[in-house]
């Protein structure tokens, strides 16, 4: 390990986002990110496996938060409401990320490769949620349907939040999106 660099990770993240937004993800190299942050490539690779991981490093923490919130929801809560508690908690955590989630979303929207990666991450979020619902005693296909529908609710609310005015509340949009799903499945 090299010498300690104060907040190297934060500086690399900021540098990467700036370059991805400016030049595009595909056109940016790790060497450029490191130079832009005033650090070495070696330091970059101590913090991130590759340049894509800068954007997806938070996905595991988000998955853990979602799953643990569902695990901790009252046992008598219906599957859809336990799942809702999980996606609202994930939404609240994203919202605390300030500008990062919006900048990240714009970078991803500009790159088919990153959009594919995001789809895969969302699919794995749905798989983890379905697994946790089964642990609560929810059967199949109810667990998978609840999980897939909840991730769709989450994604659609997130898109509204990213593309709408800055003062919107993401957990509130998630609740509204879930209510809209309940209305459409009831045939309204």
């Amino acid at each position: 390990m090299g010498r300690w660099e104060p907040d190297a990770r934060g500086r690399l993240l900021k540098a990467a986002l700036e370059l991805y937004a400016e030049r595009g993800f595909e056109q940016t190299t790790v060497a450029e990110i490191a130079a832009h942050a005033g650090l070495t490539e070696r330091t970059f690779f101590r913090h991130f496996a590759d340049k894509r991981e800068v954007l997806f490093a938070g996905a595991d923490a988000l998955k853990d938060l979602l799953v643990s919130t569902v695990a901790g929801a009252p046992a008598d809560l219906a599957a859809i409401d336990a799942a809702a508690a999980g996606i609202e908690a994930a939404g609240a955590a994203i919202q605390e990320g300030g500008e990062f989630p919006r900048v990240r979303a714009a970078i991803i929207a500009a790159s088919p490769e990153l959009q594919e990666r995001e789809l895969i991450k969302l699919a794995s979020l749905a798989t983890a949620l379905a697994e946790q619902l089964r642990r609560r005693g929810v059967g199949e296909p109810a667990a998978s349907l609840t999980a897939e529908a909840s991730i769709a609710v989450f994604r659609i609310a997130f898109d509204q939040w990213v593309n709408g005015p800055a003062q919107q509340d993401l957990p509130g949009l998630i609740r509204e999106s879930l209510d809209a799903l309940k209305a459409v499945t009831a045939g309204r």
Copy 2:
């Protein structure tokens, strides 16, 4: 263009599926598929852009069927029921494919690259369905939520059909899967 080969496309498809199932998708080359079918690589490329397209060539026809069924559904049908008509029609068409969809599903399940491709195709199916629902006058986020939830219903029913006994009825499983979604979103 070379000389006419009787049912070259069908022979190439059959040869490709056999080799993918036997050796794996990644380990099979176009040259081997052509040789196995008793045809040339040139003939292969007159029918398919690459070896992946053998498995995804039917996706556009399925999307067209889904979209046109929704377009033709009675105007007074609720969005979720118009979408249901579309995914049931797609399910019926898949079921008419005999063994192909099951063999294809097993090949895809064995390859992360093909699973990613399948996810992308399903996402584009949801996008096309949402677009058609908006043309029917459904607003947002209702159109996107209905589309995403319907594709989840379709996918989960398809997985049951592929992994269950051979005599199951796919459109019937899709209806049951939709009923299960309606039950979970109603908190039952």
